[in-house]
C-alpha cells in the first residue's frame, strides 16, 4: 500500500500545480469589478476557467450555462485527484465528491415535486440537467430516468443498488405520510456526512490526522448551521435537533450541539469555539440576513484551515482535500459573481458575500 512520500509523489506535485492555478484575491477583485455579465465572462476566459468557456457560443452564454461550465473544472479536479490519490485514501475523496451527487439527488427530487407548476416548453429533464453538477461517470443515480419517472416514490425505486437505497427506504416511510421532502433531504445529508467521517476515520497516521481535521472543520460548519437553522426556522424540538445533527466534528463538540438544542445561548457557544467570530448576537437578531453572514464567517474558518494544510509536511491527504474544498469555495464565489452581474446587483449587495476577497481583507 503506497503512502507517505511514495504514495504522494505525483499527487502532491500535481495538486500544488493546480493550487497555484486558483484565482488570487486580486484576480477575484478584478472579476468583481467587471461592469456587467458579459465583461465578467470575458474576464473569466482569461483565467484557468477559460478553457471551459471557450466552447460556448455567444447565444449559449447564459448565467446558468456558464455556472455549469465552470463547475466542470471542479469535477475535473476531483477526477484527477481520485485517479492519483493513494489507494487507501481514494474512497474518502470519492465520498467527498458525492456531496455534489447528493445535491443532484435533492435537485432531482425537488424538480419532481414542483414540475407540475413549471410554465415552460422545455421537457423537465432538459430544464433540470442544466442545474445539476456535472458529476460525469462517477454518478450512481439515474437522474434522467428519475426526473421522467413522474413521482418521488417511483424515482426512489430507481435508486435500488445505489449507495442511497438503504437511507431512502427508511426515509420514504416518512415521505409517504408527510408528503414533504424535508425528511428525505435530512436523511441524505446525515448519511453522507456519517459515511464521510467513517472514511476519514479508516485512515491512519498523518492521513487520518489531516483527513479528520479538514473534514471535521467542514462538518463543524454544517452541524452548527443545521442546529441553528432547524431551531430558528423550523422550531424543532430538542430531541429532533439531536437526531438531525451529528455527534462528531473537529472543533464543535457534541455537548455544544446538544446545548444549543436544549436552548443554551448560541452566541456564547460560537464565540467560545471560534474566538475570532464576534458579534454573533447581532447576527442572530436578524436571522434572515444574519445566518448567511454567520455561514460566510464559518466557511472562512474552513478556508483558513485548508490554506494551513499546505504548510509543512506535504505527503498526506490533507493537501488534496484542502485544494478540492478551496476550489469549491472559489466556484461558490464565482456563482455569486455570475448571479450578481446577471441580475445587476449593486456592489454592496454582493461583495460582502465573496469568501476569497473578504478573507483577504
Amino acid at each position: 500500500m503506497a503512502s507517505g512520500v511514495s504514495g504522494y509523489a505525483a499527487i502532491s506535485t500535481r495538486v500544488r500545480a493546480m493550487y497555484s492555478d486558483l484565482l488570487s484575491p486580486q484576480e477575484m477583485t478584478r472579476l468583481s469589478d467587471s461592469p456587467d455579465f458579459s465583461a465578467l465572462v470575458s474576464g473569466l476566459k482569461a483565467t484557468p476557467y477559460g478553457k471551459y468557456l471557450s466552447g460556448l457560443k455567444d447565444n449559449e452564454l447564459t448565467p446558468r450555462r456558464v455556472i455549469l461550465q465552470i463547475r466542470n473544472r471542479l469535477s475535473d479536479s476531483y477526477s484527477s485527484v481520485v485517479q492519483q490519490a493513494p489507494e487507501q485514501t481514494r474512497s474518502l475523496v470519492r465520498q467527498l465528491f458525492r456531496y455534489f451527487e447528493v445535491g443532484n439527488l435533492k435537485a432531482v427530487l425537488r424538480s419532481i415535486q414542483t414540475v407540475s407548476s413549471w410554465n415552460s416548453d422545455l421537457a423537465p429533464w432538459d430544464r433540470v440537467r442544466e442545474v445539476l453538477f456535472p458529476f460525469g461517470s462517477f454518478s450512481t443515480i439515474p437522474a434522467q430516468a428519475m426526473v421522467e419517472s413522474g413521482s418521488v416514490a417511483a424515482a426512489v425505486e430507481l435508486l435500488r443498488g445505489s449507495p442511497y437505497e438503504a437511507t431512502m427506504s427508511f426515509a420514504m416511510k416518512r415521505y409517504s405520510t408527510e408528503q414533504n421532502l424535508f425528511p428525505l433531504e435530512v436523511a441524505l445529508d446525515l448519511n453522507y456526512w456519517r459515511r464521510l467521517w467513517a472514511e476519514a476515520k479508516k485512515l491512519s497516521g498523518k492521513d487520518r490526522e489531516m483527513g479528520l481535521k479538514i473534514i471535521g472543520s467542514l462538518l463543524d460548519l454544517n452541524n452548527l448551521m443545521w442546529v441553528i437553522r432547524y431551531k430558528i426556522y423550523h422550531e424543532l424540538s430538542e430531541e429532533e435537533l439531536i437526531n438531525y445533527t451529528l455527534p462528531f466534528g473537529y472543533h464543535v463538540r457534541d455537548e455544544d450541539v446538544r446545548a444549543i438544542a436544549a436552548g443554551a445561548d448560541i452566541a456564547s457557544i460560537i464565540s467560545r469555539v471560534y474566538p475570532s467570530i464576534t458579534h454573533v448576537n447581532e447576527l442572530l437578531e436578524h436571522p434572515e440576513s444574519g445566518l448567511p453572514k454567520l455561514e460566510h464567517l464559518l466557511k472562512q474558518q474552513v478556508m483558513q484551515r485548508c490554506v494551513a494544510a499546505f504548510i509543512g509536511d506535504p505527503f498526506h491527504i490533507g493537501i488534496p482535500l484542502a485544494y478540492l474544498l478551496l476550489s469549491d469555495f472559489e466556484i461558490q464565489d464565482l456563482v455569486v459573481l455570475i448571479e450578481a452581474k446577471s441580475s445587476r446587483l449593486k456592489d454592496e449587495d454582493f461583495r460582502p458575500l465573496l469568501l476569497k476577497t473578504t478573507l483577504a481583507h
Binding site: A9, T13, D33, S54, F170, E240, L246
Partner: protein, 669 residues
C-alpha cells in the same frame, strides 16, 4: 508525433433510404467522433423523428436485460458479432412480449412469494429476541400507563436516538443487533408520549406492527411462522427451477435479441444526433485523416448517393471543438501519461510527449548519475514492464528503463558505480574507473553553475515553443505580451544580464548568462524599456484583443491598475529568478547522490568483510528506492512547473469514436 493526429472534419448528406447502412458504417469501426448536428444551427432542419425510436429501442433493450436477469442469464455480447441491420421494432416487440409474458407469470409469482417470505422472516426476527418472554404480544400496546414503540431504525441512528431521549425517563432495548435493520423497543410513561414519538420519528424509526391474527406468546407465534416459512421456501425453489428451465430454452433467442436491439439502439442514438432535412440527413463529425480513406470507401459502399465533404483542419487558429486523438506509441506511453496528467494537448498545440521523453530521463539521469544503480533501474524497469516483478509498476516500467539508461550514462561521466567513486573503486572493486567528465562531489560549485546553465537553455527552448504555439494559434496578444511572449523573452535576456551582474564573481555564475552579457547590446536600456512593457503587458494584451483597457473607473480604478501592473512586473521578475535557479537542484541532487553514498560508506566501515558488503547492499537498495523516488518527484516538478508551464496549455477534448460494443476492440471489416 509532434502533434495530435491530423483530424478531418466530415460532413455527410445521407439519403434517408441509406440512413441505417451509413450509420452502421460510421459506428462499426471506432474511427468516427460524432458531433451533435441536431443543434448546429443549420437552416431547414426538420424535427428529428428518431428520438422516439431511440427511446423505444432503449426501453426494449432494458426489457430484454430484465428478462435475462430474471431467468438467470448473463448479459453477453458476441466477441466478433455479425453486423446485422437495424431490427424492425414492430416485428421484434411481439417476440419480446411473448417471452416476457411467459416469464412474467412465473416471475410475478416468485417475487410475490419472496416478499411474503421476507415478511414472515422479518416478523420472525422481530419475535426472536423476545421469544422467551412469556407475555401476550398484543398486550404491549394496551398498557394504560406506558407508551411502547417497537420498530426498525437505521443502525447509524441508534446512538443518537438514545441521546435524544436522555431528558425523559425511558427504557431502551435493542432487540435485534443487525447492521442493516436493527429492531429496537422503547418504553416510557404515557405522559411523555409526544417526546418519545418525536424522537422516534426524527431518528427514522419505522414502527413494526404485528398482524392482529398473531395471538399467543412469542413462542407460539414463532412456531407457526417457522412452519409457514418452510412452505414458502419450497414454493420459491419450485418457481426458480421453472424459471431456470425457461432461461435454458430461451437462451440463444434472448442473446440474439439483445445484440440486435443493442446495436439498433446505439445506431438510433447516433441518428438522433443527425440533422434531419426533408429527404436527407446531415451528419457531422471528426475522423483521423489517416482513417479517412477507409471510412470514405465504406461509406460509399453503404450508399452510392451519399455526399461526402471532408475538410482537413488546419492546426492554426482556435480548436476547442476539435477532438484530440494522440498518436499511440507504446514506447512513449508512460511519458504520454505524464503529459496527460498535466493536461491533454489541444488540437493545434504541440504534443510535448517527445520533448518530455528526452528531457525527463536526461534530467533524472543527471541527478541520479550512477552506472550500477542505473543498470539496476533498467533491469527493474524491464521486469516490471513484462509483469515479472513489481507488477504494480508495470505502467512505469519503460520510464524506469529510460531513466536508468541516462542514470548509467551520467554515472559513467561522473565515475560512480554503486556509490563507489575514485580510489574506493580500486580499493574495493579492484579495477580502474575514472570520471570521464567530472565528479560532482569534487566539483560542487561547477556542477551547480552548469545546472543553472542547462536550466537557462531549457527555459529558452520553452519560451521558443511557447512563441511557436502562439503563432500556430494566431494568438498575437500572447505572442507579443503573454508571459512567454516576445516582450517577456527579451526581458528574460536582460534579466540574465542582471543575474550575471549578481553572480558574476561567484563560482556558480552561469556561463550562458555571462555570454549573453558580453553581447554588444544596451542592456540597461533594454531592462527599463522591456521591464515597462512587461509591467503593462496586461494593458497591451487587452488592447490587441479589443477588451476594456483598464478595468475599474475613475482615479481609484487607475490607481488599482498601476498597483496591479507593478505587481505583474514583480511577479514576472520573481518567476524568472525562481524558474532559473530552480534548475540548481539538478546539480544539487547530483552532489547529494555522492554525499549519500559517502554516508553509506562511513556506516559500512573500512574492512571489506561481510558486514561491509551487507551495509553497501542495503545502502544501495535504500538509495535506489528512496533517492530514486525523490529525484523522480523533483524531475516531475521541474517539468510541471518550469518547463511545461512555459508553452503547454492543454485543455484538448478527448477523441471518443462511435462504437457498437464498448468492450470491443476496434472492429475490422
Amino acid at each position: 508525433m509532434l502533434f495530435p493526429k491530423q483530424m478531418s472534419e466530415v460532413e455527410l448528406i445521407v439519403p434517408s433510404k441509406d440512413l441505417v447502412a451509413v450509420t452502421r458504417a460510421l459506428s462499426g469501426y471506432g474511427v468516427f467522433h460524432q458531433v451533435d448536428s441536431a443543434n448546429l444551427g443549420l437552416e431547414g432542419l426538420a424535427q428529428n423523428t428518431w428520438s422516439e425510436k431511440a427511446g423505444a429501442f432503449s426501453a426494449l433493450e432494458r426489457r430484454i436485460q430484465t428478462i435475462m436477469q430474471i431467468v438467470g442469464l448473463a448479459e453477453e455480447y458476441p466477441a466478433r458479432p455479425g453486423m446485422d441491420t437495424m431490427v424492425d421494432l414492430d416485428a421484434t416487440r411481439p417476440v419480446v412480449d411473448r417471452i416476457d409474458d411467459d416469464v412474467k407469470g412465473v416471475s410475478d409469482q416468485l417475487s410475490g412469494e419472496k416478499k411474503r417470505l421476507e415478511l414472515l422472516e422479518s416478523q420472525l426476527r422481530q419475535l426472536e429476541p423476545i421469544a422467551e418472554v412469556n407475555v401476550e404480544v398484543g398486550a404491549l400496546n394496551k398498557s394504560p400507563f406506558m407508551h411502547s414503540i417497537l420498530g426498525i431504525v437505521p443502525s447509524a441512528n441508534i446512538t443518537r436516538l438514545r441521546t435524544s431521549l436522555l431528558r425523559v425517563p425511558h427504557v431502551f432495548f435493542t432487540l435485534r443487533e443487525d447492521p442493516q435493520k436493527p429492531v429496537v423497543w422503547i418504553l416510557g410513561p404515557k405522559s411523555n408520549f409526544d417526546v418519545l414519538e418525536r424522537a422516534a420519528k426524527s431518528a427514522y424509526l419505522n414502527p413494526l406492527s404485528l398482524p392482529e391474527e398473531f395471538n399467543g406468546t412469542p413462542e407460539q407465534i414463532t412456531a407457526m411462522l417457522r412452519k409457514e416459512i418452510e412452505t414458502s421456501k419450497q414454493k420459491i425453489a419450485a418457481l426458480e427451477a421453472d424459471l431456470a428451465k425457461k432461461g435454458a430454452s430461451y437462451k440463444s433467442e434472448l442473446e440474439k435479441l439483445l445484440w440486435d436491439v443493442h446495436i439498433s439502439r446505439v445506431m438510433a442514438d447516433a441518428i438522433v444526433r443527425f440533422g434531419q432535412l426533408r429527404h436527407t440527413y446531415v451528419v457531422v463529425g471528426w475522423v483521423p485523416t489517416e482513417d479517412l480513406g477507409d471510412l470514405t470507401a465504406r461509406l460509399k459502399e453503404a450508399s452510392r448517393e451519399i455526399l461526402i465533404e471532408t475538410m482537413e483542419t488546419s492546426r492554426s487558429g482556435h480548436h476547442a471543438n476539435i477532438p484530440v486523438a494522440l498518436t499511440n506509441n507504446k514506447w512513449l506511453k508512460p511519458i504520454q501519461e505524464l503529459v496527460t496528467t498535466f493536461g491533454r494537448p489541444s488540437y493545434g498545440e504541440l504534443d510535448p510527449t517527445l520533448l518530455i521523453a528526452l528531457t525527463f530521463p536526461i534530467l533524472y539521469g543527471a541527478m541520479f548519475g550512477d552506472l550500477g544503480q542505473g543498470l539496476i533501474l533498467i533491469l527493474v524497469g524491464i521486469l516490471a514492464h513484462n509483469r515479472i516483478f513489481m507488477k504494480g509498476l508495470q505502467g512505469l516500467g519503460l520510464l524506469l528503463v529510460y531513466c536508468g539508461f541516462f542514470a548509467s550514462i551520467f554515472g559513467y561521466l561522473y565515475g560512480s558505480i554503486f556509490g563507489f567513486e575514485g580510489h574506493l573503486i580500486e580499493e574495493y572493486l579492484h579495477f580502474h574507473f575514472e570520471p570521464t567528465w567530472m565528479s560532482p562531489l569534487e566539483n560542487i560549485l561547477t556542477i551547480l553553475g552548469l545546472a543553472i546553465d542547462a536550466g537557462i537553455v531549457i527555459l529558452f527552448f520553452g519560451y521558443l515553443l511557447g512563441l511557436f504555439n502562439n503563432i500556430r494559434s494566431r494568438d498575437w496578444a500572447h505572442f507579443w505580451f503573454g508571459h512567454t511572449g516576445i516582450v517577456a523573452l527579451i526581458f528574460y535576456f536582460s534579466f540574465l544580464w542582471i543575474l550575471d551582474g549578481l553572480l558574476g564573481d561567484t563560482p556558480i555564475a552561469p556561463k550562458v548568462a555571462a555570454a549573453i552579457s558580453e553581447l554588444p547590446l544596451p542592456f540597461s536600456s533594454l531592462v527599463l524599456v522591456f521591464g515597462g512593457l512587461v509591467m503593462f503587458s496586461g494593458f497591451f494584451r487587452n488592447m490587441v484583443e479589443g477588451h476594456t483597457l483598464i478595468e475599474g473607473k475613475g482615479f481609484s480604478g487607475f490607481a488599482m491598475f498601476l498597483v496591479q501592473s507593478f505587481m505583474d512586473l514583480f511577479e514576472t521578475t520573481i518567476s524568472m529568478l525562481s524558474n532559473t535557479l530552480s534548475f540548481v537542484r539538478v546539480g544539487a541532487f547530483a552532489v547529494a547522490h555522492g554525499g549519500l553514498s559517502l554516508a553509506i560508506f562511513s556506516l559500512a566501515g573500512e574492512e571489506p568483510g561481510l558486514r561491509f558488503w551487507i551495509t553497501i547492499l542495503i545502502g544501495n537498495i535504500f538509495i535506489i528506492g528512496f533517492e530514486g523516488l525523490i529525484v523522480y518527484i523533483q524531475t516531475m516538478r521541474l517539468h510541471y512547473y518550469e518547463i511545461l508551464g512555459k508553452f503547454f496549455h492543454g485543455g484538448g477534448m478527448q477523441f471518443e469514436p462511435l462504437k457498437l460494443n464498448p468492450s470491443q476492440e476496434e472492429a475490422k471489416p
